[in-house]
Amino acid sequence: MIQFVSPTFDYAALAPILIVLGGAVIGVLIEAFVSANLRSRVQLFTTLASLILALGALVQARGKYTSAAAMEAITFDGAGLLLQGSVLIISIIAVFLLADQENFTALASALPGSDEERTSLQQSLKITEVYPLTLFAVAGMLIFPVATDLVTLFVALEILSLPLYLLAGLSRRRRLASQEAALKYFLLGAFSSAFFLMGIAYLYGFSSSVSFAGIHAAVVGGTGNDVYLLLGIAFLSIGLLFKVGAVPFHAWSPDVYQGAPTAVTGFMAAATKVAAFGAMLRIFYVVFAETYYQWRPAFIAIAVITMVFGSIVAITQRDVKRMLAYSSIAHAGFLLAGVIALSKSGLDASIFYLFAYGIATVGAFGVVTLVRDAAGEVTDLNRWSGLGKRSPLVATAFAGFLLAFAGIPLTSGFIGKFSIFSAAYESGSTLILIAGVLSSAIAAFFYIRVIVLMFFNNPVEDGTTVVIPSVYTQTTIIVSAVVTFILGIYPTPLIDFIQSTAQFLR
């Protein structure tokens, strides 16, 4: 007979996750019971409150690290704290963008162009489901980097992905493109989940365990089934590399970035990266570190291809959201350098990079939501021409984010780039350093091209305007810009904090 042990939970360590999930459930109830005209305000309040409470709970839990937060399924450690903190902070900033309801369709179930859609727009229905959906996604992102059990990891992956598939389809304008993006994201995401599951199966076959500790023990001890191990690592990696958008698993990202409502794109680009890289770092640092000679060469190749490909293809983009998508592919390549480094400094650098990049990304997409014409957001770069003249402050903010992406000194991007490349080089990857520096040079070209367009070209007279940002969007952009520059000028407190905190518990 099977002995059934009642599970023990460390509620302090789980509190942030539980609070966010609770907030999401309350959000669903609000959809059902609160009157329509109050709903969006109540939802915004609930969402922000649960995120901030979760952050508070996370601060409270600092130092109470345990590898058995929920039996063996969740490990709450220093690195987990930092990653969860990054996800929460980025989400809080991004939620302000979601608060601008202008960006979302009024009735998601209505067919594009149908009468139903027209009446829903006339009734000015508001789609407030975005808030609970976002909270569910955040909860998944909180679990993903702390899961230490492949099944929990998979569940977290699905919790974070499913709401994002939905959110991608909610754009108010260009609804067909938006729905196409959602479908594409969903299908390819499901495909990669299948690979991921396959990887889990192989790893179970290899080690007869799904917990990280069990697999790690098998990796160290050896089971004679090395083929299963290799296949398991490969399939698992495909699932993870898909989420971060590394080449050759990147095909979804430009379309999804472009089609999804910009506010969602910003949240997705920033927070998903943190969660997915967090999980990747944990898996490769904790479980597969000893067998690095088997996966590192492949990862170096993927990192180099991702950096170079992302940078080169970005040059040809004529759409600002697609350009940012390819730029994020290039950044995924830079971040892989942190996984490859497989050292304490690599971990520190990756966490700093993820946080800095996430903040700047949310800010940049915040600016994109502001440039509009009568039909909605204008993402065609040609029509951004002369933006600096129309709206110097907005253009300057965007230029600042681009300089941060390019890694110019005195922005957070430079410190991130320096630390991650030096970590990679420290562990012997000269190739990563050279490829990284060269693709940064290529990438600089298209960032600068946008700056030229905004500042040195004359405005086009076709009705493109910069709307006066709402208080919410202003908050997002200002906070992101300030953080980006402070981290560039005086990053010491954050770096020291990361250095003293970032540890994986096995």
Binding site: A406, F414, F421, E426, I434
Partner: protein, 511 residues
């Protein structure tokens, strides 16, 4: 930690930023007040710079006016400032030239995309970064200024220049960024090597011992990362192609800042970073660099002779002059080194004089083509004389400041590389051509149509140009104060390289 005493270098870097903060409160329409604030700020920075130079102990070859604070201790990065004789001279040059640019370029911001406020804010921010780049004694801090400096220059060229200004600005920025990223790779290399050998630091003095543990291959690679970045900045043939475009499109004032000051960062970096950090690699590459320097001298001179545009002409002369400076640095003799440093200082002033007077000529004639001018001597004698003197300084006429430095460079080179020195000497002959031909065409002879009603320099323009010409003339006769500052440090750098000056061969004979 509260600073008990404000460091003068930090002060000189803070003042322009305070100026920018004040400018932020000036209404956009009040251009005059903007300019006055910018002038007062740059003059006060110049006063601090002069005070530092006076206080500078010239026999002391260690860093002076030092300040060091932790910046990012996790990577061993400090906010560390200090100057040796070379840095002192270059800071002095920079802080003297900036107010000159403000005065002489009083109306330069008018043709820009943005207001005067933006123009002068950019110049002030740039001044802070220039001082920072010369004063850093931490390699990382240096790099931060080195790269961040590009941003204000980029906007100065692209926003306030003329003609194909946006394209020129982008070309400048991409070239510089490319070099900068190579240097970043080298800096990461240094950082990792220093960590591996137990001293996680970016302090230049500590790092100057790093070469003793590097493999020759590693040292060469790291050296190249730095050298290519500096060769782009300086600029050395064949990495110079961004310069003529940038100089043609920028306003004259910006060109002065760019060619007169910023490009010196390249040659300064060769001395401070290439020679100090990688002495063995420097020796390995010396033959190649000397060759490139000689090619630059002749190539720049030939193109200058052929130039039809007055701003491009000045840019090409600078390529030639930077060839001389690089030649002097890598000749590895103390005369060559001293000559090069003095050359940097003088080149700053003679280029400034040329660009500023040329700028006045161009703004009056509304053309920068040399053949559009003619017989200016009769119409505008003061402007013509100023241009003439600036030109003579550029061709290193004895009695003017640049003669001393060019002579020292050639003498210093001759003792070790006689062939290179002899070939380089042709550069002097060519210099006479590229200066005197345009002087003859534009200034002398009958006044050509279109130039009859040109007005001479105004009082403001005279005030702007006079100090520059005064410095050129005075230093020509009496360069010893500067030489006293430069000599000790250049001898020390040369001896650190393990070189001694070759003894002159004396032929035996009776008097």
């Amino acid at each position: 930690m509260i600073p008990t005493e404000l460091n003068l270098l930090t002060l000189s870097m803070l003042l322009p930023l305070i100026g920018v903060a004040v400018l932020a409160f000036v209404p956009k329409t009040n251009a005059l007040l903007t300019k006055q604030i910018a002038l007062v700020t740059t003059l006060s920075v110049a006063a601090v710079g002069i005070y530092m130079t006076v206080k500078f102990e010239f026999n002391n070859t260690t860093f002076q006016f030092v300040e060091s604070r932790e910046w990012i201790p996790a990577f061993g990065i400090n906010y560390a400032l200090g100057v040796d004789g070379i840095a002192m001279i270059l800071i002095l040059m920079s802080v003297l030239l900036t107010p000159v640019v403000v005065v002489a370029g009083w109306n330069e911001s008018d043709g820009g995309r943005w207001s005067a406020k933006v123009f002068y804010s950019l110049i002030l921010v740039l001044e802070t970064m220039i001082i920072g780049v010369f004063a850093s004694t931490d390699v990382f801090l240096f790099y931060v200024f080195f790269e961040a400096m590009l941003v204000p220059v980029y906007f100065l060229i692209g926003g306030f220049g003329s003609g194909e200004r946006a394209a020129a600005a982008v070309k400048f920025l991409l070239y510089s960024l490319f070099g900068g990223l190579l240097m970043l790779a080298s800096i990461i290399g240094i950082f990792v090597m220093a960590t591996r050998y137990g001293n996680r630091t970016f302090d230049i003095t500590a790092l100057s011992q790093l070469h003793t543990v590097l493999t020759p291959m590693m040292e060469n690679v790291l050296f190249l990362g730095f050298f290519i970045a500096f060769a782009i900045k300086a600029p050395l043939w064949p990495l110079h192609t961004w310069l003529p475009d940038a100089a043609k499109s920028a306003t004259p004032g910006t060109s002065v800042l760019l060619l007169g000051i910023l490009d010196k960062v390249g040659t300064f970096g060769m001395i401070r970073y290439c020679l100090t950090l990688f002495p063995n690699a420097s020796k390995t590459f010396t033959p190649i660099i000397i060759t490139l320097a000689v090619i630059s001298i002749l190539y720049g001179a030939f193109l200058a002779i052929g130039a039809k545009d007055i701003k491009r002409l000045i840019a090409y002369t600078s390529i030639s002059h930077f060839g001389f400076i690089t030649l002097g640095i890598f000749a590895m003799t103390s005369q060559g080194m001293t000559g090069s440093v003095l050359y940097m200082f003088n080149h700053g002033f003679s280029t400034a004089a040329l660009f500023l007077v040329a700028g006045h000529m161009i703004s009056r004639r509304k053309s920068s083509t040399i053949s559009d001018f003619g017989g200016l001597q009769r119409v505008t004698p003061i402007m013509a004389w100023s241009f003439f003197i600036a030109g003579l300084s550029s061709l290193a006429l004895p009695g003017l400041s640049s003669f001393v430095s060019e002579f020292l460079v050639l003498v210093g080179t001759f003792t070790r590389y006689p062939v290179a020195a002899v070939i380089a000497t042709f550069g002097i002959v060519l210099a006479a051509l590229y200066i005197l031909i345009p002087v003859q065409r534009a200034l002398h002879g009958p006044t050509t149509p279109g130039n009859e009603n040109m007005s001479d320099l105004t009082l403001r323009e005279k005030v702007g140009i006079a100090p520059v010409i005064a410095i050129i003339v005075v230093l020509g006769f009496y360069p010893s104060p500067l030489l006293k500052i430069i000599n000790p440090i250049s001898s020390q750098i040369i001896s650190q390289q393990g070189f001694s000056d070759p003894a002159p061969t004396i032929s035996e004979g009776k008097e």
